[in-house]
């Protein structure tokens, strides 16, 4: 399945969830928008992707 991830077209496995994507990117914490709408973190485990989705994912880096 093809989606636009941070403005780049990429191929994602059909069954991939948002949580899987965050894990793959090795982000400890992330903010995710799909088609302009930001997801709740409670949705990460269950939310998948649709063909052509505009996905934005940003790492939430803490201080320290």
């Amino acid at each position: 399945m093809k989606v636009w991830l941070n403005k780049k077209e990429v191929e994602l496995p059909a069954e991939m969830t948002v949580a899987d994507l965050i894990k793959e990117k090795q982000f400890k914490k992330a903010a995710v928008w799909i088609n302009g709408k930001q997801l709740l973190s409670a949705e990460y485990e269950s939310h998948g992707f649709q063909e052509g989705d505009q996905v934005k994912i940003l790492r939430v880096v803490a201080g320290g």
Binding site: N6, K7, K8, Q26, K28, K29, A31, V32, W33, Q38, L39, L40, S41, A42, K56, L58, R59, V60, V61, A62, G63, G64
Partner: protein, 626 residues
């Protein structure tokens, strides 16, 4: 809240006296830096030379210190900073804060100057100023051993200066446990100027909370609380150095003296690499379950006795200097801990000197023959020793810090300095975290990464504590990208600055307590105050305590001659940073000035002078300051 017990030590006359501060006043200035500022504004002229006997040097803890829970064992040193010329403070963790409190004191105030080296030993009511001539010149680890011998006692906790403090290096630290530092603001130089080598306490047991059962509601489930917090899990695994992994991957790791955020080989210096390759163990502070302190071993370069590098050290001696040799970073960290130097200012000053060398501003003759190119981590050992001993040549030049050193070299060198009010910048890029542009410039003692929350919290999902906790302090607008600097960020900078300022007052570790990603949040702090010491407080009162401290520092600075003109950013803050996959983050001068206007308005400070207005002083009960 109880009265505060304050020990005054007049080093000139070698006398001590005990005073109490009534509980009602203490509640307004409850420990740490707020108490220090209250005492300085009451008794000291802000225009004094920071290295003169007239400067005060105040060690303080807080009403919550020593009560067994993660992140409460911190001690603040407050003084007029020789690095910045402003009010300055610095915090340290470890075990000395809890022991300080268990000995029955809230603050120890040093005034004057001893006519020969001394150290102060405290065993409850027994207070002795002792001869330190025999350990003057010693590195911190040796001085620790010398005192144990001198006192015939091994159950000690101490704060010690190394040769750098004795030699008045402007960014000298005060070291505890050879690996914990009151690092910033040159507090070690003030100690050296007083001929004071160490403050030592006899070890004592912890402090009992007012409500033991209530405390259990906060401490009983600490393992589950930690496991549920991904950032804390990472901190426990990799320490603060784990931030190298994140900033490096994202392209926001200040590299080559802040020329760029991309540092190709960042993985060689990352926290995960340290954990995998050289970590011996994780150490802790009194009663803290997080155990974030890395202890490393690199044969021939770093001994576990001197701890291990934090994130800032990995960055300043790593990416700032274009150095990817982890052994050299660990060696630099160890030498700074031995000689008593702040690793941020030291690494950043060396990075600035490398930049000057590369640009032909510093010649090989001026560097005592050292090929001071980016990437030359092998130069650290010689340079650090030269700085600490203030050897004539490159050592004494860099011992002044990058901003003062640049002034002697001219405008080109000054343009390469990355400091605010003379304080070298910690490793968080303002292009990524623009609220830090406000903080780095407006913070009373210059750039500090631990004086406000960082911007990414405003991007966190609505059901995440990173979003929920800051919004307990004030309501903020959501942010959807890096690089945004506006009135919302000004509000975020100010409101979270109040919270961090309060934590520097109540002496709390900002990894364990905080308004976003930490182990415990604002509401838990209110509960800790109640169960710990029977103090019925609120988030509003805590915010006001933090605000009062910031305003005291601003008033001190106003009297010392500082204005808004000093709340500036260095040129390199405006370099666009390429990060991620072809993205660019940048802040502009126009956005910065507009955000600063919004920040001053919200703070109740005059936009021209930068000083708190009469209304603000009255609102915070500070009109007693003349």
């Amino acid at each position: 809240m109880k009265d505060a017990k304050i020990l005054y030590v007049d080093l000139t006359n070698r006398t001590t006296k005990l005073e109490t501060l009534d509980a009602e006043t203490y509640r307004k200035y409850p420990g740490g830096s707020a108490l220090g500022m209250y005492l300085m504004l009451k008794d000291m002229d802000p225009t004094v030379d920071p290295l003169s006997p007239e400067n005060m040097l105040i060690f303080s803890v807080a009403p919550l210190t020593g009560i067994p829970i993660s992140g409460q064992s911190r001690m603040t040193v407050t003084t007029k900073s020789p690095l910045t010329g402003t009010a300055g403070d610095s915090q340290v963790g470890g075990f000395i804060p809890a022991v300080f409190k268990a000995n029955g004191y809230d603050a120890v105030v040093f005034t004057g100057k001893a006519d020969s080296p001394v150290y102060l030993y405290i065993d409850s009511d027994q207070v002795q100023l002792r001869d330190a001539s025999g350990m003057w010149g010693m590195i911190t680890g040796d001085a620790e051993k010398w005192m144990a011998e001198d006192l015939q006692e091994t159950k000690l906790e101490s704060s010690i200066i190394g040769p750098a403090g004795e030699n008045l290096v402007k960014f000298a630290s005060i070291m505890h446990m050879r690996s914990r530092a009151n690092g910033r603001n040159g507090v070690g130089a003030v100690m050296g100027s007083k001929n004071l080598k160490a403050l030592v306490f006899k070890k004592k047991g912890g402090v009992r909370p007012e409500d033991q059962e209530g405390m259990k509601t906060l401490t009983g489930n600490v393992k589950e609380r930690m496991a549920a917090n991904e950032v804390i899990v990472d901190t426990a695994l990799h320490g603060s150095a784990g931030v190298v992994d994140a900033h490096g991957a994202e392209g926001f790791l200040p590299a080559y003296n802040w020329k760029q955020g991309n540092f190709d080989d960042y993985k060689k210096t990352a926290g995960s690499t340290i954990t995998r390759e050289i970590l011996v163990e994780r150490d802790t502070c009194f009663a803290c379950a997080i155990r974030c302190k890395g202890v490393v071993s690199v044969p021939g370069k770093a001994d576990p006795e001197y701890g291990g590098p934090e994130y800032e050290t990995c960055a300043t001696f790593g990416s700032y200097c274009g150095n990817t040799d982890l052994g050299d970073i660990c060696q630099a960290n160890q030498l700074c801990n031995m000689y008593g130097l702040d690793t941020i200012s030291c690494g950043a000053t060396i990075a600035w000197a490398m930049d000057c060398f590369e640009q032909g501003i510093l010649s090989k003759e001026q560097t005592d023959g050292i090929e001071l190119k980016f990437g030359n981590g092998g130069a650290f050992e010689a340079l650090i020793k030269k700085i600490a001993l203030r050897e004539p040549g490159i050592g004494s030049l860099l011992a002044e810090g990058s901003a003062a050193a640049a002034k002697t070299l001219g405008q080109e060198a000054e343009d390469l300095v990355v400091a605010s009010k003379g304080q070298e910048w910690p490793a968080h890029m303002v292009q990524m975290k623009p609220n830090l542009a406000i903080n780095y410039s407006a913070n009373p003692f210059g750039a500090d990464h631990q004086s406000s929350e960082h911007d990414p919290a405003l991007m966190a999902p609505e059901d995440d504590q990173n979003w929920l906790w800051p919004n307990m302090l004030a309501s903020f607008d959501r942010v959807e990208s890096y690089g945004i600097l506006d009135a919302n960020k000004a509000k975020f900078a100010l409101e979270t600055q109040k919270f961090y300022s309060m934590m520097d007052t109540l002496c709390l570790c900002q990894f364990a307590w905080g308004p976003a990603w930490q182990l415990y949040g604002p509401q838990e702090l209110v509960e800790f105050c109640k169960y710990g010491i029977g103090w019925d407080t609120s988030i509003e009162e805590l915010q006001e305590i933090g605000e009062r401290r910031i305003n005291m520092m601003r008033i001190f600075n106003e009297k010392a001659g500082f204005t808004r003109a000093d709340d500036k950013l260095p040129k390199k803050a405006f370099i666009p940073i390429h990060y991620g996959e072809g993205e660019v983050a940048a802040i502009t001068e126009e956005d910065f000035e507009a955000a600063m206007d919004a920040y001053y308005d919200l703070a109740g400070w005059d936009k021209v002078t930068g000083a708190p207005t009469a209304e603000t002083r009255a609102r915070l009960g500070l009109d007693w300051i003349g």
